[in-house]
Symmetry: C2
Subunit: 210 residues, 2 copies
DNA sequence: CTCGCTATTGATAGCGTCTCTCATATCAGA
DNA sequence: TCTGATATGAGAGACGCTATCAATAGCGAG
């Protein structure tokens, strides 16, 4: 797991910059309101008021309330770092190395925003629910990367299965034992989370002896 | 993956029987309407009218529209069959055997209903989204069963990781390569699905050599 | 600079899911 | 049969989200 910063494409026109500012304002006020009074207690109207736009405009920037949290420029794994690993590394070893590299590259500010996103994803059912498609998408991306590393087809059975096992292992150590008690108190910080993931992947590398 | 039939607890009072009938009527008409005119095109009001209850009563039986599909007495794995496997089998081998047994025990009617549930889960985003919590719950149940088999703690790291890898592998062969194209046309029937899952688990048993 | 084009916006109306309240009707047990 | 508990319907309403339309503001061309 790792994070990427804002896309570097600088908007040029006045219009583009205003749009970017409006978008940032909506997200910023939304996250603040979520933190202050909770996700459910915060309505679109309140967010729109705080960001000084109309409710209709909110939906022009974010298709749903959940997307304010989800569209956060973070990606689960930096695929670039994965591609850059030396080819003699096995798939899982390469993934572990890539994850460690990208964690090290995060700024303190990135970490804080990442942490907030993780917590909201864990706690709010509507947002957590979206993660299933994220998992599927990630499996496919990892499978692509593994296919390139091993010179096999991306839709080959074995390639996809290894990617699936990897994501499953990450799931099992990321989510708590009881879905109903996903409370912020029990949350680990990002560094601890990465450490647990790395330990689980090392175990997977050894063939999961039980 | 496998399925369980209706819980055998016979309701006794007149009230209980009427409640069970109402509940069954709502679900039956809902699934029929979904099939005939699609999930989104079907409103709660239509379902309530067809089942001859008020919309308010609908929500007394099912907290959300999605739950009409999800609360279907099917469980992802028959844990009883897993417990019954001989202790000399490894965790994954035991799971494979349990899955095969339960598939064989399904009636044709069970299979058809199971198939319909799988398709709706795959196609409707709102319903598919719920499956993430199902996956987590299943990981925990499998971890419990594996813990009992191996005489270890249910929240031990290795136990949970193996359960996670198992579910991840199942995910990877169950979901298609592209999330956007989860079309009914591409759906396998239940038997094929079980065959793919078994093949992936066999590969996991061999340590995922890539 | 100015004119027309286009993109962005706010206001409004509306649909559908879901919650809540209250009055009514029905069942269970004494 | 009487009494308390439970199920139901009707209605109002909050909220997320969509669609339409008119007004505004930035854009490029002349």
């Amino acid at each position: 797991m790792t994070a990427m910063s804002e896309p570097a494409a600088r908007p040029v026109g006045l219009r583009e910059r205003k749009k970017a500012r409006t978008r940032a304002a909506i997200r910023q006020h939304a996250l603040r309101l979520f933190r202050e009074q909770g996700y459910y207690a915060t309505t679109i109207e309140q967010i729109a008021d705080a960001a000084e736009v109309s409710p209709a405009t909110f939906f022009r920037y974010f298709p749903t309330k959940e997307d304010v949290v989800l569209q956060d420029d973070f990606d689960v794994i930096s695929l670039a770092a994965l591609e850059a690993q030396p080819p003699e590394l096995g798939p899982i070893a390469a993934f572990r190395a890539a994850a460690a590299e990208t964690l090290a590259a995060l700024t303190a500010d990135d970490l804080a925003r990442f942490q907030e996103t993780i917590e909201l994803t864990a706690v709010i059912p509507e947002i957590r629910a979206r993660s299933i498609d994220e998992f599927v998408r990630t499996i496919n991306q990892i499978a692509d990367a593994f296919a390139r590393r091993t010179g096999r087809g991306a839709d080959e059975f074995e390639v996809r299965t290894v990617a699936g096992a990897l994501i499953g292992v990450i799931m099992s150590v990321t989510v708590p034992a009881n879905t109903d008690t996903w409370a912020p108190e029990a949350m680990l910080d990002v560094a601890d989370l990465f450490a647990r993931i790395d330990r689980a992947l090392e175990y997977l590398q050894r063939g999961l002896p039980l």
